[in-house]
């Protein structure tokens, strides 16, 4: 094992590039009234930041806006981050 430890081998970690949510300029906000839970936002999210219950993980959401663009009910709005 000691030889193995010396190998330059990376370990799978969530947030390998840090909290990528800090890159975000616009935050997706789901309007629960309009949402019909089709799951397209979850399907198209490149970062898998939307889970099966359609909750957005804002720690890692980069704010690309694909979910808002693809939502057939227009239930997701991109809101500017105030910091």
């Amino acid at each position: 094992m000691s030889g193995r430890k010396r190998l330059a081998m990376s370990q799978p970690t969530e947030g390998a590039a840090g909290r990528t949510g800090s890159w975000r300029l616009f935050r997706p906000v789901i309007d629960a009234e309009k949402c019909n839970q089709c799951g397209l936002c979850q399907l198209y999210c490149p970062d898998a930041a939307i889970d099966q219950d359609l909750k957005i993980d804002l720690n890692y959401c980069k704010g690309c806006g694909i979910c808002a663009n693809e939502c057939p009910k227009k239930a997701i709005e991109m809101v500017r981050e105030e910091q």
Binding site: P12, L43, G63
Partner: protein
Amino acid sequence: MTEIPKEEYVLKGTTACAGCSASLSLRYVLKVAGPDTVLVIPASCSSVIQGTYPNTALHIPVYNIAFAAAAACASGMSNAFRELGKKTNVIVYAGDGGTLDIGIQSMSGAFERGTDFLYICYDNEEYGNTGMQRSGATPLGARTTTTPAGKTEEKKDIDAIIAAHNPPYMATACSAFPQDIFKKVKKALSIRGPTFIHILAPCPSGWHYPPGKTIEIGRLAVKTGMWLLYEREYGQVSISSPSKAAMKNPAPLEEFLAPQRRFAGIDPKTVEILKQRIAQNIKRLTKEESGVC
């Protein structure tokens, strides 16, 4: 959609740009492949999005290797696994630079040797990782950092080159249709021998469109006929359903070109040539499907 597994092998917090369709495609490739998989990645955006040592965002074994050696490495790996009696999937996930330009000799060799592996080329039509330079896959008229006035040559037809190797299975896909990618990767992995999938991966940073439009641009590429989805199984071509409708009645090409700044100020003559190419490709593919040529 229910059949797509819930497990994620691309963990949250990669260094991919916002709206990256290469990481979206990789998500679905790995969902099919599952944990018994080794990914071989030559230098490309995908070797960068893993993050920095000692962490990686990919939850499966990955071997990062030099540009020209990916398919050769996969060949050796695949042979070693089969010799040990293991059915581990060996997948090469290379960009268009690593497939069409720099990696073509090792890939051609692996296809000729009949290596049991899956070669996936995600095609963002430029050298995205090094700053959007021109590649063999850049379409005619597109501006890149090394072709500031628009590329004057046409895109290399890698699918025809692969088809000449006569592999048991090859397909084209687009990141805007994840279910289609899922289906094709599943089929490719179930077939023994060298298989190839060419995925069009729109790149917001290089094609210069708002990142939210990644899926929309991919869909427009298929709708306008700029990108044709088909499978070639033991020489028999079958056109995939999203392309079938588009081939009968393609949307105007301008709809695809207009949102991308890399096509800003494109010469009308160049657009005409692109349109002619689309018509030719559609004609050729229809003929191939019906077994005429």
